[in-house]
C-alpha cells in the first residue's frame, strides 16, 4: 500500500484558497468542485484529490500547512480512505468539476 493526499472538506471549504490546485506537480490530480462544500452547508466549494493520479509527494501538504496555513491535507494509506475521487468518476462543467466518490481500491 502507499500514501495519497486526502483533503478535509470541512477545513478546505471554509477558506477555499485553491493554492493546492496550483502547486500539485501532476496535472488534473487536485481538482476543485463548487458543490463539494456547499452540499454540506459551507459557503464555498472544496478541492479534492483524484487518487489514481496522486504520486504521494506531499507537496500539497506543505503548501496547505505553510503557505495557506489551513492544515487541511493529510497523507493517508490508500486502502484506509473510505471513499475517494477517481478520474473515471470526474465530470467537467463550465467552471467547476463534480466527482462521484467511490472506493479507491475497488473502484
Amino acid at each position: 500500500m502507499y500514501l495519497v493526499a486526502d483533503i478535509s472538506v470541512e477545513i478546505c471549504a471554509a477558506k477555499s484558497c485553491k493554492l493546492c490546485t496550483q502547486y500539485c506537480p501532476e496535472a488534473n490530480t487536485i481538482q476543485y468542485s463548487d458543490e463539494m462544500g456547499k452540499e454540506q452547508g459551507f459557503k464555498y466549494g472544496s478541492a479534492y484529490v483524484a487518487v489514481d493520479r496522486c504520486k504521494g509527494c506531499a507537496q500539497c501538504v506543505w503548501v496547505c500547512d505553510n503557505m495557506a496555513k489551513n492544515n487541511a491535507i493529510k497523507m493517508i494509506m490508500i486502502d484506509q480512505l473510505p471513499k475517494a475521487a477517481l478520474t473515471d468518476n470526474i465530470t467537467y462543467g463550465e467552471k467547476s468539476t463534480t466527482a462521484v466518490l467511490a472506493s479507491p481500491v475497488v473502484g
Binding site: T21, Q22, P25, A27, A58, Y92
Partner: protein, 300 residues
C-alpha cells in the same frame, strides 16, 4: 495545428477514451484559461513518468497553461528529464537530437511563417541546463544572434539528473554530486548575460513557487517571440533526487533558492515593450506620470 485537430473524427467519439473526450469538450483550446482556474478544466498535460514531487513537472504544467494559443503551439525538446512530461501533452512535440533543439526550432519557426504567414504559430523550446548551456550551447547562442523568433526555456535543475548526477555548466561552484565527488571547480554559467549580449528581446528568471508569475513571464515571452525576436526564460526547477530534497520540501527549497540566487529578474527590450503595449494592451510598460514637484518648506 489548429482547432481542427482537437476534435473527434466522425463516428469515433464513442470509442475515444475519457481523457480524450474531456480534452475535446473541456480542454483549454480556443479559450482563455489562467492558473487561478486550475483544477476546473482539463489540462493539456497528461500522466507522465517523471518523479513524484518534481519541481520541473510543476513548471511544465504551469507553462502549458500559460501558452497564449496552445492549439497553435509546437514544443521542441531534447534529451533530459523534461521531455518525459512535455511529450505527454496534447501539444505537438518535436524531439531533437541532444543539443540541436534550437537549430530544429529555427527551421520549424521559419517554415511555419512561410506556410502560415502572419497567423501566429508559436514555437517553444523547453530543454534542460545540459541541453541548453552545455551540449546545445552553440546552437542556442547562434539562434539568439540570428534573432530567431521563438522562445527558449531552460529547465535549470543544476545537474544532469537523468544520467545519475554529473555536473553541468549551470551547477554551482563547489556543489558535490554523485558523479562529481570532488565538487564543481568553476562558477555557474551566466546565461542571462549571454542572452542579453546575443540580443534576446526578453530575458527572465523565474522559480515555480509563484504560479502567477510563471504564467505572466511565459505569456510575455511567447508573444514577444511572435514578431520581435528571441526570448529566453531561465527557470529553477530543482532535482529532488540528485540534491536529496524531500518531496514535501521542494517548494521550501524553491523559496530558499529564490531568496539566495534566483531572484526574479526581467529584461524587456524597448522594442518589445512597445510591441506588448501597442499590440496586446500591456499597461505595465507605459510611462508613469511624473511625480508632482516636492513642496518647498515654508512656501505657500
Amino acid at each position: 495545428m489548429s482547432l481542427d485537430y482537437v476534435k473527434f473524427s466522425n463516428g469515433f467519439e464513442k470509442f475515444m477514451p475519457k481523457e480524450y473526450r474531456d480534452m475535446v469538450e473541456h480542454g483549454p483550446f480556443g479559450k482563455k484559461v489562467t492558473v487561478s482556474q486550475m483544477g476546473s478544466f482539463k489540462e493539456v498535460l497528461e500522466e507522465h513518468p517523471m518523479c513524484a514531487g518534481c519541481a520541473m513537472t510543476l513548471f511544465i504544467r504551469l507553462a502549458m497553461i500559460a501558452f497564449p494559443n496552445p492549439e497553435d503551439t509546437i514544443t521542441v525538446g531534447t534529451a533530459g528529464c523534461g521531455r518525459l512530461a512535455i511529450s505527454q501533452a496534447a501539444i505537438p512535440f518535436v524531439y531533437g537530437n541532444y543539443g540541436d533543439q534550437n537549430g530544429v526550432a529555427s527551421g520549424l519557426s521559419r517554415g511555419l511563417r512561410l506556410r502560415f504567414g502572419d497567423k501566429p504559430k508559436d514555437v517553444v523550446v523547453m530543454a534542460g541546463d545540459g541541453g541548453t548551456a552545455d551540449i546545445g550551447f552553440q546552437q542556442v547562442l547562434h539562434s539568439w544572434f540570428r534573432k530567431e523568433r521563438f522562445t527558449t526555456i531552460m529547465l535549470d535543475n543544476e545537474v544532469y539528473g537523468n544520467t545519475g548526477g554529473q555536473e553541468s555548466g549551470m551547477t554551482n561552484r563547489g556543489a558535490v554530486l554523485k558523479m562529481a565527488p570532488l565538487g564543481k571547480k568553476f562558477e555557474k554559467m551566466d546565461m542571462l548575460q549571454m542572452a542579453k549580449v546575443a540580443g534576446c528581446a526578453y530575458v527572465a528568471t523565474v522559480v515555480p513557487n509563484n504560479p502567477r508569475r510563471v504564467e505572466s513571464v511565459i505569456k510575455k515571452a511567447v508573444l514577444i517571440a511572435r514578431e520581435v525576436g528571441s526570448t529566453y526564460i531561465q527557470a529553477y526547477t530543482s532535482c529532488n533526487i540528485e540534491y536529496a530534497i524531500p518531496t514535501d520540501k521542494v517548494m521550501e527549497d524553491a523559496k530558499t533558492v529564490e531568496n539566495d540566487r534566483y531572484q526574479f529578474t526581467e529584461y524587456v527590450s524597448e522594442e518589445a515593450k512597445q510591441y506588448l503595449t501597442e499590440r496586446y494592451g500591456y499597461k505595465e510598460f507605459l510611462a508613469k506620470p511624473a511625480a508632482p514637484a516636492a513642496a518647498i518648506p515654508g512656501k505657500a
